[in-house]
Symmetry: C2
Subunit: 345 residues, 2 copies
């Protein structure tokens, strides 16, 4: 019942019969494309691109034109949320994100904005969504996104990437009350942010819990799923996808969320995941991004094997993680073409 020229991904998410599996890639708008690098190269940095709606819209649409994916995903970063709450970040080339100000105590909490009004600081995202929708002109649906509260919490406490996230985890164990207060505030802001993305026009929401795998099952249940659940319950306007990387142990709990799609990383077996999650959800994933370093014949073979494991069940083809920046776009096209050539019977 949509006006999209290609609404395959929405039909798949809704559990309708489709002729083939829809396909897109996490991080499809980005460094793999020379057309992206041409735009990015003219700017002061990554953040200027995120914060300039016309350019963010342009790189969002590039993979639709160049790669032929079945959905666009708005070009942005999960870290705009902590910035909107009062922790500015820098993106340091070849190193990653860096926050000068971090949250380590009750007193630090008092210096940030943990209310819905923080979402008003992200007008550049909503503007980029509006421009993208206009320029996509109903070709494919547009995905909006946010980080999950636990993952955002990690950055707000650590201030940068980490192998163990032990500073963030330390708070869960040493001061669970502080942890819950901050997670609650992040959740509140995230819901307001996603509602505004939906108002601006996104058709699907994806929640990225990139560091879910750093927690034990009990800790993820208490500090992770709890807040993802609140987001899922608050977002009813469009379908929601939850991608909790590494949280294989929580698949049963994720299956009970009020969301339509569950993302799988490449460690997770498709058949086993289907058995655990059941038939009521669409699954998304999960080719290892490194398979795209193989030759064309091997990529086709691996993709076929993946698609066969989907059977005729609800599935969106994707990688099990964002595409790596040194991947040849021709190899990405090979993956996409292999998905498109495969009929569901």
């Amino acid at each position: 019942m949509t006006n999209y020229h290609n609404d395959l991904i929405l039909r798949m998410i809704n559990g309708e019969k489709t002729e083939r599996f829809p396909v897109w890639l996490m991080r499809q708008a980005g460094r793999i494309l020379p057309e992206y690098r041409a735009i990015r190269g003219k700017l002061s940095g990554f953040k200027e691109l995120v914060e300039t709606p016309e350019l963010a819209a342009e790189v969002t649409i590039q993979p639709v034109d160049i790669l032929g994916v079945d959905a666009a995903i708005i070009f942005s970063d999960i870290l705009v949320v902590p910035e909107a709450m009062g922790l500015p970040y820098e993106m340091i080339e070849a190193k990653g994100p860096y926050f000068e100000k971090r949250i380590r105590s009750e007193a630090d909490l008092k210096t940030i904005n943990g209310t819905v009004s923080a979402a008003d600081n992200l007008d550049y995202v909503y503007e980029a969504i509006k421009i993208t929708k206009r320029e996509l002109n109903q070709r494919v649906p547009l995905i909006g996104f946010s980080g999950a509260p636990w993952t955002i919490f990690c950055y707000m406490v650590e201030g940068e990437g980490s192998k163990t996230f032990s500073k963030a985890k330390r708070i869960l164990y040493s001061d669970p009350k502080l942890a819950h207060t901050l997670l609650d505030q992040i959740t509140t802001v995230t819901i307001a942010y996603l509602k505004k993305q939906i108002e601006a026009g996104v058709d699907i929401i994806q929640i990225f819990d990139s560091w879910a795998g750093s927690l034990s099952p009990a800790a993820y249940s208490e500090f992770g799923t709890k807040y993802v659940r609140r987001i899922c319950e608050a977002i009813n306007e469009v379908p929601v996808t939850v991608f909790a990387k590494g949280a294989y142990y929580a698949r049963e709990e994720l299956a009970a969320l009020d969301c339509q799609t569950i993302g799988l990383d490449w460690n997770m077996d498709i058949e086993e995941s289907r058995k655990i999650i059941g038939m009521d959800k669409t699954l998304q994933g999960n080719l290892d991004p490194c398979v795209l370093y193989s030759d064309f014949a091997s990529i086709e073979k691996s993709t076929k094997k993946l698609l066969n494991s989907f059977g005729n069940r609800r599935h969106i083809a994707n990688l099990g993680h964002g595409v790596y920046p040194d991947t040849d776009p021709e190899k990405v096209k090979c993956f996409i073409e292999a998905v498109k050539a495969h009929s569901i019977n």
Copy 2:
């Protein structure tokens, strides 16, 4: 049938009835102890400590005296193996290991020693083991160790730590023949190295596959388990423990290895792991190291919960990862005491 004052861990590994669970910690010899930092502070760096047998022996024994663990583990590093093969490493403070020379091609392979003779370059380890054994004077058994071939391969290709190990994985997908040749050579050297550790006196071998979790189930089977299996089959003199961090998906395959103990990380549910692995193996683990950031009462409670999940089955209490350097030794003692206070009925 041993002469140890405390042979609890050996009896548990052998499947004998014991009065309580044995306990030790990965990285127990190290920065958590002020006594370790006092010795380390007088030296040029971490490597000098690894390469000075008298001092390596001294820090190996410290946790037996200070913490009261049921086993010592020789103070060393998994990266001595690539160094013995011809890739010297530096340990950069607060950053981690760094290799100037790396393996990326067939030609690079020709510059290293992938034969048993490479193990002759590690006399300082064997000497440290001999001194430790003498000074331990039968108090507790001594654990020797190595990295698993896949994990060593990661460092030899990447030359440093990585979030994705995508350079190492690239070779698996783009040049599987080169990957197998290097993995085969690492395996050959590792077996020779472990045999010499056993000759020098270690009572147990542990194989650390720290980056197992970076691979898909199919890739880990082809490039990971295959070589761990060869090591397990070659080592018959003492019991072997395999700790493949993140390879929850491979537990069935690991259960079939010719080894006595399987290490579990803190993501892995104990009951589920027991069901998958069966009753014929001893399990080891798996408290989240961050639980040791809690207060004493919470540590006791979490430890009790863990021990209850072991039931009366074969289990060695440990963390699910190495103890983090900023952990209070009193909290570590609290964990150890809680294990010792718990009777198996």
